[in-house]
């Protein structure tokens, strides 16, 4: 029994590795990636405009982090990551069905759950490579002149971690939608820009039913100033619990996606 489980795990590992490398390669080549790569540069432009504005208006340096959290991180977490995760997550399964290329995967010695995990891993890395350089640039544009402080770099690592967690969580959820539903984009949009946004305005524990709540709980909090945006009702969860929750959400939804993909038949229109 245990040797059978071991063999299955080994096969799962092999499948993950093969699918990961193939789809990381394919993902880098796709037109969609090029378009989204350009789009992910938007926050850098926003940061540059804010920085120029600060310099010309003579705004103090203390507001730099507040600006970054309130405006740029909100743009990343509530728009860019959701859009990227929606299109890449749902496409994990649906691009194969709509492109009628699924048989290239399912007629090879690959475990079905490994196919989903491999593509999830490849797209997580791809999205991280899209978002993190942009985050790096926008953060350091805003913090130009403070680069001698270690705290600046530590804060960046924190933001980068939140971003990666956001990618993992949303990508897993949208991957599940893509494997379970025939038309996942509309529901994904409703979730990403409806549920996730509206729930933040609910007081008490209701907002804990959104992914973004845990991500925001990991961000440093600054006193609400004129840059305060969509955060005033946040009732944060403990950072450690937030990390665990996002990882659990990711594991649960990617597990469900693997299960759905293993059990379902995907019949493409001939």
């Amino acid at each position: 029994m245990s040797s059978n489980r071991g063999t299955k795990l080994a096969l799962l590992g092999r499948t993950f590795r093969r699918v990961f490398s193939f789809f990381f390669f394919l993902g880098r080549r796709s037109r969609k990636t090029k378009v989204f790569y350009v789009m992910s540069g938007l926050p850098v432009a926003m940061a540059a405009v804010i920085k120029i504005n600060q310099m010309t208006a003579g705004t103090g340096r203390d507001v730099v982090n507040s600006v970054f959290v309130d405006i740029l991180m909100m743009f990343y977490l509530q728009f860019l990551i959701i859009i990227l995760a929606l299109f890449y997550g749902t496409s994990i399964c649906s691009e194969e069905i709509e492109g009628r290329t699924l048989h290239y995967l399912t007629t090879r010695p690959l475990m079905k759950s490994g196919i989903i995990l491999g593509k999830y891993g490849a797209y997580s890395l791809l999205l991280s490579l899209m978002v993190l350089p942009s985050l790096f640039c926008s953060y350091f544009v805003l913090n130009a002149g403070r680069l001698d402080r270690a705290a600046v770099y530590l804060a960046f690592l924190r933001y980068a971690g939140v971003m990666v967690l956001g990618i993992l969580g949303y990508l897993a959820f949208f991957a599940f939608l893509g494997t379970a539903l025939r038309r996942p984009i509309l529901i994904g949009l409703a979730f990403g820009f409806g549920w996730e946004t509206v729930l933040q305005y609910f007081p008490g524990s209701t907002q804990r039913f959104s992914v973004v709540h845990y991500l925001k709980s990991l961000l440093p909090r600054y006193s609400p100033g004129r840059f305060s945006l969509l955060t005033f009702r946040l009732e944060p969860t403990d950072p450690l619990i937030s990390v665990i929750m996002v990882l659990l959400i990711s594991a649960a939804f990617i597990g469900l996606a693997c299960l759905a993909f293993s059990l379902k038949e995907y019949i493409s229109a001939d």
Partner: protein, 308 residues
């Protein structure tokens, strides 16, 4: 001889539509042709064999083992889909090496095998072009190459000749025959009888999800010979032509088109009719615009077989 493929009471339906109905058969090494009109259930059968679909009833065994959700058995199977679908953004070389890496080959081994497969399908010179820019024939050949690149023992080919020009068809037929010569098993589907006939004499007749017959192609030929043929001739003097054939014993029925420019002949001896036709046309100086056989297709034969 041991059966490579065995299906037991295999049935598959899509909602209310029956795809395959109670199919029990065994397929042995060599080339086997799966012959049937469009929508007969050929693709469903092949998808069940390659583990893409799960049977509703019955089972599929390849080398005695089930395939649905048993992916390890798929390493020795090559599948060429009828669908013209690819990862378009990459080159033919990248497509093959990528799929070989999914199969488990190291980069070096995948490169060597891809090189070999590209040479076999005569695409070595175009290997660095993006698949998006390939012609229909090239796409069909690269699809064939991905099916054979890992040297499978069982090759399942769904309409591999569709959309190819005669030269392209001849190349693929030669490749399939070469594959058989290496002791492999090939199951190839088509709705065109002469295509199957050019590859093998072992056929399975499938229609409306049921297996009508399995055996030698001469059986089908005999059925076709005994089936009345309808031949339509568009010419300037249809009544003169009809007068020449009205006394011929092999003609069963003559019919004139609405504009009196087409003669439809029903015969039970197609060879005798076409043997006589050129002489009649020459003797009477009749100019022919078009000759067609409205029912010279597999659908007509199947309709005949199932008694429609």
């Amino acid at each position: 001889m041991t059966a490579v493929i065995q299906t037991v009471r295999l049935s598959k339906w899509y909602g209310n539509v029956l795809g395959l109905n109670n199919v029990s058969l065994e397929i042995e090494p060599g080339i086997t042709g799966l012959l049937g009109p469009n929508g007969a259930g050929k693709s469903t059968f092949m998808k069940l064999l390659t583990g893409q679909l799960k049977p509703n009833i019955g089972e599929v065994l390849i080398w005695g083992k089930p395939v649905w959700n048993h992916c390890r058995h798929l390493s020795k199977i090559g599948f060429c889909s009828e669908q013209d679908a690819f990862y378009e953004e990459i080159s033919g070389w990248e497509f093959l090496t990528g799929l070989l890496s999914l199969q488990g080959f190291t980069p070096a081994a995948a490169g060597a095998r891809a090189e070999e497969a590209l040479a076999i399908v005569e695409l070595a010179q175009d290997k660095d072009r993006k698949i998006r820019g390939y012609s229909r024939g090239m796409r069909q050949r690269i699809k064939f190459a991905q099916a054979i690149a890992h040297d499978p023992d069982l090759l399942v080919l769904d309409e591999p000749l569709s959309g190819l020009d005669p030269l392209g068809k001849r190349k693929i037929i030669r490749l399939i025959k070469d594959y058989k010569m290496r002791g492999k098993t090939v199951l190839v589907s088509s709705h065109v009888l002469p295509e199957i006939e050019a590859m093998t004499s072992d056929i399975i007749l499938i229609h409306q999800g049921r297996i009508l017959a399995k055996g030698d192609i001469h059986y089908i030929r005999d059925l076709i010979e005994s089936h009345p043929h309808v031949i339509s001739i568009k010419c300037g003097n249809v009544r003169g032509l009809a007068a020449e054939f009205v006394r011929a014993g092999f003609v069963r029925k003559l019919d004139f088109g609405p504009d009196d420019d087409t003669l439809t002949v029903e015969t039970h001896d197609r060879d005798a009719f076409f043997g006589r036709l050129p002489a009649v046309l020459l003797e009477n100086g009749i100019q022919v615009e078009e000759i067609s056989s409205p029912d010279d297709n597999l659908q007509a034969v199947f309709d005949y077989l199932v008694g429609k």
